[in-house]
Symmetry: C2
Amino acid sequence: MMDMTIRTARNTRRSDALSRERIVEATVEVLDATGEAGLTVRALTAHLSTGRGAIYHHVANKEELLAAATDDIVGRVTAGTGDDDPERAIRALALGIFDAIDAHPWVGTQLSREPWQPAVFRIWKSVGSQLQRLGVPGPARADAGSALVNYVLGAAAQYAAGARRATSDADRKAYLETLAAQWAQHDPDPIVQDAASQLREHDDREQFRAGVDIFLTGITARR
Amino acid sequence: MMDMTIRTARNTRRSDALSRERIVEATVEVLDATGEAGLTVRALTAHLSTGRGAIYHHVANKEELLAAATDDIVGRVTAGTGDDDPERAIRALALGIFDAIDAHPWVGTQLSREPWQPAVFRIWKSVGSQLQRLGVPGPARADAGSALVNYVLGAAAQYAAGARRATSDADRKAYLETLAAQWAQHDPDPIVQDAASQLREHDDREQFRAGVDIFLTGITARR
DNA sequence: ACACAGTTGGACCGGCGGTCCAATCTTGGA
DNA sequence: TCCAAGATTGGACCGCCGGTCCAACTGTGT
């Protein structure tokens, strides 16, 4: 009641019109700069120098925004896998996703949150077609594809969650160090002691690559 | 300024005292009944018939609450794997987690959100010790363990996200049907057509089991 | 020249997690 | 036995969130 707001004459139309593209682009920028928790509609609209209501003419809600941003990143990865050898192509795809998540940790979280978003569909399709070229027959192909995709997405989420905790490499190393010490102190089981010492010196990317190899071996060994 | 609240004389102490245990128990109940989105501090304290501030004397925040609830469920699973044959034990562990997530979808989401929570540590430890009994040597064991854990957690998150969308079996089937139709319509690629038709008749649990088998084959084939 | 369809942005809403502290209970020492 | 000191409780309050709504303001077609 009684809105005394003085309507200033500053409601001028923007020269650079808002569009879904520009919004998604800005979303990626905000996510990269401030992380998943930093993406709020307020922050986004501030970054775009606009009001909150405006973006809802272009996207339905925040979930769609995240899905679109994720698809943007993943699309670039899946587009770039043109290897002739299907096994090499699968490795390249997996590592491409890993690297994308290294660069944009929020993608890892988002990918495993919603199984049937466009970005995940892209991954399924890529993996499926390479498995077909690899000669995996129909029914087994679904199982093999599901195994690979689940592995990749699982690793993605885990790695992304870690990267969220500790941004820089140095932070990350220190964090793992503390964690290993906690484990080792908390549980005297030799298995744990062993794992803790390996945690200190392990390389995420190499370990991820090794996992892909294990699945590929498992798939080809049963062909 | 000027708090005119009338302090009624109803601040009587509860006969059944609040405790961390009771709070975690109630958290699981609320999560099971209303899902992850339904777990709010307000809903939880209403369920416990207490005020919001009270629970913060027992848990630090909502994140700790979720971790504790998840650990509660996962603890029951990892405690129950006493098979002599390590390969069978791994299968039992994996399927146990799958079934736990089928019963409590929120566990799947939570597990892949935070890699170093107690529940995930339990899984790592179980997998690690079974792999050791399986005779996988040290360095390879870390790779194998990471691959298996990531696969299980990835599948868990995917399945949980699906279960979140469609609760009942009938809903789920209908949802997959719609989805398959969308895919098939949207993308004429034969790979997609094929995948869509398989999506209609696939069994999540069987597919998950097949993934574990692929992994085990991959491990033993390289030993 | 001008009406109208489409766009913009700020006020507003209900609800969230978390903090604070007066009121109240429990407990152990005199 | 009593009572001061400490632990526990719960509701008011805070700042912030995503999303809705609509008055004000264009660029465009006629």
